[in-house]
């Protein structure tokens, strides 16, 4: 039941954000997490963001995946 998935915030309108889950975009309530910004990744559980993902980790993952896709 505690399943949650990470997604990228692409637009914010008040307490609602559009979050991209690898191509599927959903409206997510971000009122439980402080200071969410466009471009950041949030962990989403049952329609609500519960926490932001660590930015350094996300960047590192993206660098790794970009490198892999070029190989």
């Amino acid at each position: 039941m505690c399943l949650a998935i990470p997604g990228k915030v692409i637009k914010i309108n008040g307490s609602i954000a559009l979050v991209d889950f690898s191509g599927i975009v959903k409206e997510i309530n971000i009122s439980l997490v402080k200071g969410v910004k466009v471009g950041e990744y949030v962990m989403v559980h049952a329609g609500f963001a519960i926490e932001k993902m660590d930015n350094e980790y996300v960047k590192e993952m993206q660098r790794y995946l970009n490198k892999k896709s070029k190989n």
Binding site: C2, N29, E51, D54, Y57
Partner: protein, 345 residues
């Protein structure tokens, strides 16, 4: 050699060094699901055992609370519920069974859905189930005017109860990742016991096992955080604050574990007009009075504490299946019996 191979190699070397059987309990149903999905138990050394704990909220929901919500539905109250809880069997049947008989039971994806539906119907009762991952959203819903019947639970007191039970032999805990995103890691430091907060990918779980073995070898029990990409020491303060504003702790009733001090969450008096326990006080008393307990040989209670394996229950796979669950652990996809049943087939 891939990272996973390397971690497995480390685990094997450490398990051999320890020699004796090691029992590690995963405290979150989503960890149990990862372990089953990758058939992880078959890749571990023969002296490392993974035991499922009481981390599936549906599984640990008290029978009386399930009966009350079904009783409310039978009395004509509109109910909204997460899909996971729809088939939870009770003495009066499950919500799905009474829905088929005409009761107004609605499955919702999230609290926002429940709120929208409530506004459309002119009121309903949302069944609040879950640990700290789920509770802040329910608190948000209550602040927006949603009426809730709270079966929400606090996780840490259950860990304390497990550690106090001498019948349960456990060498370390894999602590729940998303509960910890809310409550943080510091709160676990009160237990001088090997613990690792872990994420839900296969490498997260393997790393957690490796980190627990380190603690067991060094005989230095502590709290380590493997899920640093999400979980902070103090947790999510904003989510904690909204929970604190709406709920207060009370003793909670857990299937299998019984009554645990300060492990339940009650809606505070200032929100009592959104509290189904207050609004339907007399009806709930009547429902509770009229419950006839169906005798059952279901052993969910022992499964939930890692005392027996699902297959040791006399009902498992004989009359208890995911399509016809007799006990709570067969209902949710995160329930130990449900996982075991699917893994076998």
């Amino acid at each position: 050699m891939t990272n996973l191979d390397q971690i497995l190699k480390n685990i094997s070397e450490k398990a051999e060094k320890i020699g004796r059987p090691i029992r590690l309990m995963e405290l979150c149903g989503t960890h149990s699901e990862t372990i089953a999905r990758y058939d992880l138990k078959n890749f571990l050394p023969s002296n490392i055992f993974l035991v499922t704990g009481p981390g599936c909220p549906i599984c640990v929901t008290d029978q009386t609370e399930a009966d009350v919500i079904v009783g409310l539905a039978l009395a004509g109250v509109s109910i909204a519920v997460y899909g996971d809880a729809l088939n939870l069997p009770g003495n009066l049947g499950s919500l799905e069974e009474v829905r088929q008989k005409g009761a107004d039971v609605n499955v919702v994806y999230d609290v926002t859905d429940a709120l929208r539906l409530s506004q459309k119907k002119g009121g309903l009762v949302f069944w609040g189930i879950g640990f700290e991952t789920t509770t802040p959203a329910t608190a948000w819903g209550i602040k927006q005017g949603l009426t809730v019947f709270s079966s929400h639970k606090v996780f840490v007191p259950a860990m304390k109860a497990l550690l106090k039970n001498k019948k349960i032999r456990i060498d370390g805990f894999i602590n729940p990742g998303h509960v910890s995103a809310i409550i943080g890691t510091e709160i676990y430091e009160k237990f001088l016991f090997p613990q690792v907060v872990a994420g839900f990918e296969i490498d997260d779980v393997l790393l957690a096992i490796d980190m627990l073995l380190n603690q067991i070898i060094s005989q230095k029990p502590c709290v380590k955080n493997e899920y640093t990409r999400l979980v902070k020491k103090k947790g999510n303060k904003r989510a904690l604050k909204i929970m604190e504003d709406v709920f207060e702790v009370r003793n909670g009733f857990w299937r299998g574990l019984g009554e645990i001090k300060n492990s339940g969450l009650k809606i505070r008096k200032k929100y009592q007009l959104q509290d189904a326990e207050f609004i339907y006080k007399d009806l709930i008393l009547k429902i509770k009075k009229n419950i006839t307990i169906k005798p059952s040989t279901c052993r969910c209670g022992e499964v939930l504490q890692g005392m027996i394996e699902p297959k040791e229950c006399p009902l498992f796979g004989k009359i208890c299946f995911p399509d016809n669950p007799q006990g709570a652990c067969m209902v949710s996809r995160e329930g130990s019996c449900n996982i075991e049943y699917r893994a076998d087939r």
